[in-house]
């Protein structure tokens, strides 16, 4: 922590009462950080400014080609429904005439796609009952390099990957197989896929900011640290040019559901890593990502030369959470950011590699890796009785 940045908080007056109390509390806490050798720890908080699946797709890594785009898949689905070719041609032609201005109420093709699930012969909602739809057998990805971690500690296996940047071997990241041959999910790590950008744009203003706070004796040196993942009470704050604003102050949400994600870690050669994997549970945006869970949570963080912290997190994620954002979007997801959700669900089940159902043996979670960018910020801790202390500070720096 830079003293020049934290020192300013030692005194405050003439502010409206609640704010005065707030900043005084901050000031006292910071003051103790600065002056007490016994508690000579420093903290740095980074506020998530981007979040998406850690993809690493390259030309040719789907040797038999990509999965069909949604319109082509729909044509196949009509065949699977047993509709005669002439009828299919008529339905598709009518839909093409409607173009992008399709009327949900009257469009025959949309109705068929939404209700093509069958349970005991009855039509059911396709997206709510993905297993009621015949498996379209979407193709999985077969690359060799995928971001992530050796989640199970078993090292190199027949299905493991090598991380393209850390070069860790034995990486478990089966979600990459599920998503990798669908055009809308394909991307390089930092670019974000079309789907990722769509989803992030949709949730970033609705979701409270996530924060990563690193605490240790000297964050400029190698050594042990703790890493806490929290949720702020505020949304991400932005600059005029649309990028996340650094050095803003956020309040940590004291919600006990999310205020417990603390992990032991270390700094080594400028990389901050979780050394004792645990369980991560976060609450995010209510519509698409109401829950975000990773078991055997791993993370590594490194500051890039733009002053942005790049964070790779990984763990085993319930496939139900992944399907939620894909399937709950219904036909809109199908056309915009997750083509053929039932097919994705079938793939998720096939490649799930963790948490077997004790009755059926079907795995219920899948190894996953996500990419996060975060900017420096300040985080205060809010207790039920009010603001109590400050848990972090921002960086110094120069230009």
């Amino acid at each position: 922590m830079s003293q020049s940045l934290c020192g300013p908080l030692r005194a405050i007056f003439a502010a409206p009462k609640p704010f005065k109390a707030t900043v005084l509390a901050l000031a006292c806490a910071l003051g103790s950080f600065l002056t007490s050798p016994a508690s000579a720890e420093e903290s740095q908080t980074y506020v998530m400014s981007r979040f998406w699946h850690a993809a690493n797709n390259h030309e040719g890594d789907c040797p038999t080609g990509l999965n069909p785009r949604y319109k082509d898949q729909w044509a196949k689905n009509l065949v699977d429904l047993g509709i005669p070719p002439q009828e299919i041609a008529r339905i598709l032609e009518k839909d093409a005439e409607a173009g992008e201005g399709r009327d949900f109420e009257s469009n025959e093709l949309l109705k068929l796609m939404i209700t093509r699930g069958r349970i005991d012969g009855r039509a059911v909602n396709t997206y709510a009952h993905p297993l009621a739809v015949k498996d379209p057998n979407l193709k999985p990805w077969s690359g060799k390099f995928a971001y992530g971690f050796d989640l199970d500690g078993k090292g190199v296996t027949a299905t493991s990957f090598e991380d393209p940047e850390s070069h860790e071997k034995g990486v478990k990241h089966e979600l990459a197989r599920v998503l990798g041959c669908n055009d809308e999910f394909r991307a390089r790590l930092r670019e974000g896929s079309a789907s990722a950008l769509f989803l992030w744009t949709a949730i970033k203003d609705a979701a409270p900011a996530w924060t990563f706070t690193v605490t240790g004796e000297n964050l400029k040196k190698d050594g042990p640290v703790t890493i806490k993942v929290s949720r702020a009470m505020e949304g991400i704050k932005y600059n005029g040019n649309g990028t996340a604003r650094a050095d803003m102050t956020y309040r940590a949400d004291p919600d006990p559901r999310t205020d417990h994600n603390v992990y032991k870690g270390e700094i080594k050669d400028g990389v901050i890593s979780v050394t004792e994997p645990g369980h991560l549970f976060m609450v995010q945006e209510p519509l698409l990502f109401p829950r975000f869970t990773l078991d055997r949570f791993h993370a590594r963080m490194k500051m890039n030369d733009q002053g942005v912290m790049e964070i790779i997190i990984g763990g085993y994620q319930p496939i139900s959470e992944i399907y939620h954002w894909c399937g709950s979007g219904s036909i809109d997801a199908d056309t915009n950011f997750c083509a053929e959700p039932p097919g994705i669900y079938h793939l998720l089940r096939k490649f799930a590699d963790y948490d077997p159902d004790p009755k059926t043996g079907q795995n219920r979670a899948i190894s996953s890796t996500y990419y996060i960018e975060a900017v420096p910020g300040f985080l205060t801790t809010v207790k039920p009785e009010g603001l109590q202390n400050i848990s972090s500070s921002a960086h110094g720096g120069s230009r």
């Binding site: 300013p8 007056f13 005065k20 005029g240 960086h395 120069s398």
Partner: protein, 563 residues
């Protein structure tokens, strides 16, 4: 309203504005009227165009805060470092007049609108579909006296009432007629320009003084940055402002008013050239946090700091350069890298919080605020030269010559030069040129002391990996960093002298002339004796007989300014 009716009303309105302006003998120029004043003994001796703030303040005072101004104002003109002085040299372009006319019509329409007329208009017409001269007279006499800062003359009032009558007949609507006439009042030079009308000074034979209403106007714009209130106009009407006692009574009342804050804000916004922040743009790739909101907040931060110290606490003016108490929003705090909690719900407006920097903090005083370090920088880099020049000229009132023509600035501008990695190194290399060296010696040391602040005002300790050396001297006094520079500036006699000169010029609307030197010197001595308290200095200026003297002849101003 039908298209035909709209056309009729528009034509009537345009004709009305023109007729009323011509009928009221719009003065051709300040010089001509000054000549006239000298020749005849009475008349308009000076005209100053209202600033945007003054225009807004008056409309709010007269018609309330709900009125939307709309429109845009013409650029102001800075003369001798003050827009206030430039306001006396500004004319009006046709485009500017069109803007004022458009705003006037919009304001007038809001005033007579169905939702406002019962509050704004003190009477109801006998019939809404035609003229009512009695009601129009009542409204126009009252509103006109406030807007013109004096009672309307009988011909003026008659002219406006006749115009309202004619327009009401044409439009078949009393309120349309009244709206068009009020629009004409708001477009008239008597409203848009502050006019100083002179009369022979009975106490100084052969000299002129402002008439009572002009005195009231000068006082109110100096102390409050708005029009005179009812009490001040009444004092003018009763002739009380022609006595020293009467002036002192009004000045004491005005200094005790909360409106003094507006006057102090207006002066310092002008002196510190904070209007530059409204058009300040930075390279968003280098300084993504610096946007229009931050620029707006930077202005407000400095003005709040000033009002708090100088008005609310009646503090020593010089302490502005070392003050640790300031005000912040979250947006500003992020640029300063200061944690600041906003407990309002998400999406709420950012609000201001008082804040005190601790002893030893590299920031102290207004020179380290964004309103100085970001304003006096380039879009993509800091500028010790601009900062040093501003400090010399704005704060110390010292003259820095313009750079000679055809100077090669390439070394200074190349921030990625592998040899000259800091601004100090680049300027040292640049100042090898003897043509440049003289001025850079004057301005660079102070500017280099502020190199801890990048082009956006964010704190830094190094540039291109090289630790910054922020030491230097000002008039032989050494300092090591920005905070110490603030102390040196605080204790420099020119700092005190400068603010007196600026405030005096601001008050009388021109640079003092040679014959006013003794007055200026006396004010400086009194300012020091009074503990450098700005409201006390304003009181001394406003209660001086010289404050109400007629404008000296233009030739005298040109030849014999104190500067």
């Amino acid at each position: 309203m039908s298209a035909l009716k709209r056309k009729v009303v528009r034509a009537a309105g345009a004709g009305l504005t023109l007729a009323v302006c011509l009928g009221l003998n719009f003065p051709a120029s300040q010089a001509a009227t000054a000549e006239k004043a000298a020749d005849t003994g009475v008349g308009v001796a000076a005209m100053r165009r209202l600033t945007p703030e003054q225009y807004a303040n008056i409309i709010e005072e007269v018609f309330g805060p709900s009125i939307e101004l709309g429109g845009r104002f013409e650029p102001e003109l800075r003369v001798d470092h003050l827009n206030e002085l430039g306001s006396g040299q500004l004319s009006m372009s046709s485009l500017g007049m069109a803007q004022f006319d458009s705003m006037a019509r919009s304001i007038a329409a809001q005033v007579v609108s169905e939702k406002s007329r019962d509050i704004m208009i003190p009477c109801k017409p006998a019939a809404a579909n035609g003229p009512d001269d009695a009601c129009a007279t009542k409204f126009l006499a009252h509103a006109g006296s406030l807007l013109f800062r004096r009672p309307l003359t009988q011909p003026e009032l008659q002219s406006y009432v006749q115009a309202a009558h004619a327009a009401s007949v044409t439009a078949k609507d009393f309120y349309t007629g009244l709206s068009l006439t009020l629009g004409a009042v708001l477009s008239s030079p008597q409203f848009l320009f502050r006019q100083a009308t002179v009369e022979p000074d009975p106490d100084n034979r052969g000299q002129f003084r402002l008439d009572a209403y002009s005195k009231a106007t000068r006082l109110s714009f100096f102390l409050w940055n708005t029009m005179p209130d009812a009490a001040l106009l009444t004092a003018a009407e009763k002739g009380e402002l022609n006595s020293k006692k009467g002036v002192e009574k009004q000045v004491a009342r005005m200094l005790a008013s909360h409106r003094l804050e507006d006057g102090v804000r207006a002066f310092f916004a002008d002196m510190l050239q904070l209007d530059g922040l409204s058009v300040l743009a930075k390279d968003t790739t280098l300084y993504p946090k610096f946007d229009a909101m931050v620029a707006r907040d930077a202005r407000e931060q400095t003005l709040r700091t000033i009002v708090d110290l100088l008005v609310e606490h009646r503090g020593d003016y010089r302490d502005l350069f070392t003050a640790r108490k300031t005000y912040l929003t979250q947006a500003l705090a992020s640029v300063y890298r200061i944690p600041l909690v906003n407990e309002a719900p998400n999406g709420s407006q950012d609000f201001w919080q008082a804040y005190e920097l601790p002893e030893g903090d590299p920031r102290a005083g207004i020179l380290t605020e964004l309103s100085f370090v970001a304003l006096n920088s380039h879009p993509g880099r800091s500028s010790p030269t601009l900062r040093g020049k501003a400090l010399r000229e704005v704060i110390l009132c010292q003259k820095v010559p313009a750079p000679p023509a055809a100077v090669n600035f390439s070394i200074v501008q190349d921030t990625s030069n592998p040899v000259y990695r800091t601004a100090r190194a680049r300027l040292t290399a640049h100042a090898v040129n003897p043509v440049c060296a003289g001025c850079h010696k004057l301005i660079d040391p102070m500017g280099l002391a502020l190199e801890n602040f990048d082009g956006s005002g964010a704190f830094r300790t190094e540039e291109n990996g090289v630790a910054l050396d922020t030491s230097g001297t000002l008039d032989g006094v050494k300092f090591n960093n920005a905070a110490e520079l603030g102390r040196v500036v605080r204790d420099n006699p020119a700092t005190t002298s400068c603010v007196v000169d600026r405030l005096l010029s601001y008050g009388i609307g021109r640079a003092p002339v040679a014959s006013e030197r003794a007055w200026a010197d006396g004010l400086k001595a009194a300012f020091i004796k009074d503990g450098h308290v700005i409201p006390d200095l304003m009181r001394r200026i406003a209660t001086s007989p010289e404050f109400f003297r007629a404008e000296p002849r233009i030739a005298e101003v040109t030849k014999a300014s104190l500067n």
